[in-house]
Structures are given as structure tokens and as C-alpha cells.
Symmetry: C2
Subunit: 185 residues, 2 copies
DNA sequence: GTCTATAATTTGATAGAC
DNA sequence: GTCTATCAAATTATAGAC
């Protein structure tokens, strides 16, 4: 089963965008990456915006799919949070890049308006997932606080690991924070 | 005392780069922002790289100056960490943008090599400053772990606040983390 | 230091043939 | 779906006058 052209285009675009940001991706780069012409890229994604929206959608879907898989056997809050960490960790170690939505979230003010909602939703869903993973006895506000902290730290750790070319930093930070956030009431 | 042209150029470039990333800044934009011609921008910064390096240098200098001022009366670890938070918070609230180095750190792989060191140094210096602010009785490894976590969380919280247009998220996360990181041994 | 002028390249995008 | 051909605009950058 060969990958179709849109999948290969999204792969190439994601690779580039997660390394250099939205404006670092050009139709001609994608064309040469996938051995077609730039006009053919426009056939699949008429505007760059359309490509951006498709990229974010696919990224979010894949992320939450991976999260479901990784957490399928998780019972305790701790196990669930380590599943969350594992998915982030995979994105950093396997793709050797930061989170697509983390980068675009920073570039938010410079993005076409059509992309904004997808990025915002990604983080809302992140925080919601982590909230639901936390112990039941915590208040809603307390869950929100801790979940936001965990998501923010995962994103920040990813960026710092990326910028210092030291993935261990991600491991250290996220491990510390998960045990710390759970370790007290 | 009027601002000289380089200062106005760096102001304009910083404004744009912190909103859209490295590739969202063009010489012509800066020219129109400062009411000069793009060829005159090149007089001050021959290559875009040169501009980028100058931007990062100025940003880092200003950041650590602000940190010195904010922490001048801080005695305890807690007071010092709140001073650190205050400087980050100012960058988010007053400039209404993420950290320049946070954004560039995410875009690292797509940046001209000349910019890499400045971004890396910024974070190393951040972690060092926070390490030194932590209680003396902690081991070096423990300080590194906590300092990295605090810096990562500040960066991540900034990005998330930016992407959700909700600066309160930054306040919540950083307040929680500072009290939490200090609250136990 | 700033300007005019311009070059070389890249970029997002479209028309129309196959 | 992909191609050739093309466009208009943007972008980095330089030469040379004032």
C-alpha cells in the first residue's frame, strides 16, 4: 500500500514546518520533496492556508490516536501521565523536532486566521486530557491548574531540548514534574 | 533623546519576529516601519543574519538587565523566583508576545547557523540564573533539574497563553510551579 | 546614512493541455 | 492528477549617487 500524494505532501510539509515554522515552507520545496511540480501541489492544496489547516488536523488526530494507544492499559493517574509524556517524547526523539502546534502557537499572531482555531483546540484538548487523567479527588480548578502546568512544561521542555540539542533535558524535566505534581495534594 | 535608527530597526524587527518567527521579517517591512528604504536597512545590517544576531544579543542583554533590576531586593529563593517570573510576565503582558528566544528555539533547525549560539546561550544563562536562585542546600543536579523545569514551564506557559489569548494561564501555571517547586525538599 | 535603481531569486498562485 | 508555462509580487542583496 503506497502512500498517496497528499500524505507525502503532508509528511514533507510537517517535516519542514516543525523545523522552521509556517513561513519556512514553500510549495516548490514540497514539490521537489515529493517529485511533482508546484502546480500539482496547488491541485491538492489550493492555498497555503489549506495546507496549514490539513497539517494541523492530521497532526492533532495522530497525536490523540497515539495518546489513546499509549494510555490504553494505563489505570492510575501516574500511568496516564507517563503515557502522555511518552507521546510527547516520541515526537521529540523519533521526529527530532518540536511539536507542530507548539511552534505554530508561538507564531500565532503571524498565521493566517484559518489556522488559529486548530492550534487553540489542540492545547485545549491537551489540557482536558491531562485534567481527566488526574486524581478524581482534586477540584476542577486544581486539575486545570496542574494540567496546564504539565502541558506547558512538556511544550517548553521540548523547545529547550530542541534548542540545546539535548533531549535528556526533556526527560529530566517531564519526569521531575510528573512525580512532583502527583506527589502532593 | 531620540532613538537612533538601529534601535528603531531592532524594535520593529523584534516586534515582527516575536509574532511570526524569523522568516516573517523582511527588510522592506522594517524599512516601511522605520520610514527609510530597504537599502538603508542593509546599510545597518548587511545580511539578515546580522540583524538576527543583533536582535538576539539585545534581547538577552535587556532580559538579564531586567532580571537584575527585578531581583535587586530579593533575598529568599522564593523572592528571586518571583522576580524571574515577573520579567517573563512583563514580556508577555507588556509586549503582548512570546519570548524571542523561545520562538527562535523552536525554529532552531531552520535558522542561519550564526543565530544558534545566541539562543542556546540564552537558555543556558536562564537555567544558571534560576539554579543560583534555588536554596543552597540542594545538590547541583537537583538545582539543574528544578531550574530547567522552571524555565521550560515559563516558556511553555508563555506560548500557551499566547496561543489561547489568555494571559491568565501564564499566571496560573508559573505561580503554581514556583510554590510547588520550592514547597518540598 | 540615506537615496534611486536594479539584479537575482523565491514565492504563492493560475490557465490550460494531456 | 500532473504537466508546461507563466505571472505578479515579494525578498535578499548590491552598486553607485548625494
Amino acid at each position: 500500500m503506497e502512500k498517496d500524494t497528499t500524505a507525502r505532501l503532508l509528511d514533507a510539509a510537517e517535516y519542514r514546518m516543525r523545523r522552521g515554522g509556517y513561513n519556512s515552507v514553500s510549495f516548490r520545496d514540497l514539490a521537489s520533496d515529493t517529485d511533482i511540480k508546484s502546480s500539482s501541489v496547488h491541485y491538492h492544496y489550493p492555498k497555503k492556508e489549506d495546507l496549514g489547516v490539513a497539517l494541523i488536523d492530521r497532526y492533532a488526530e495522530r497525536f490523540f490516536d497515539a495518546l489513546m494507544v499509549a494510555s490504553s492499559k494505563a489505570q492510575t493517574p501516574k500511568e496516564k501521565l507517563y503515557a502522555f509524556r511518552k507521546v510527547y517524547r516520541g515526537a521529540l526523539y523519533e521526529d527530532k523536532a518540536v511539536c507542530l502546534c507548539g511552534l505554530l502557537g508561538a507564531e500565532m499572531a503571524g498565521l493566517p486566521p484559518a489556522l488559529v482555531d486548530g492550534v487553540t483546540s489542540f492545547f485545549e484538548a491537551n489540557v482536558k486530557w491531562v485534567s481527566d487523567a488526574l486524581p478524581d479527588d482534586l477540584s476542577k480548578a486544581e486539575k486545570y491548574k496542574r494540567a496546564s502546568t504539565l502541558v506547558a512544561a512538556h511544550q517548553g521542555a521540548m523547545m529547550m531540548a530542541n534548542s540545546s540539542d539535548d533531549n535528556k533535558l526533556f526527560d529530566t524535566v517531564t519526569e521531575f514534574l510528573i512525580s512532583n505534581t502527583l506527589g502532593q495534594d
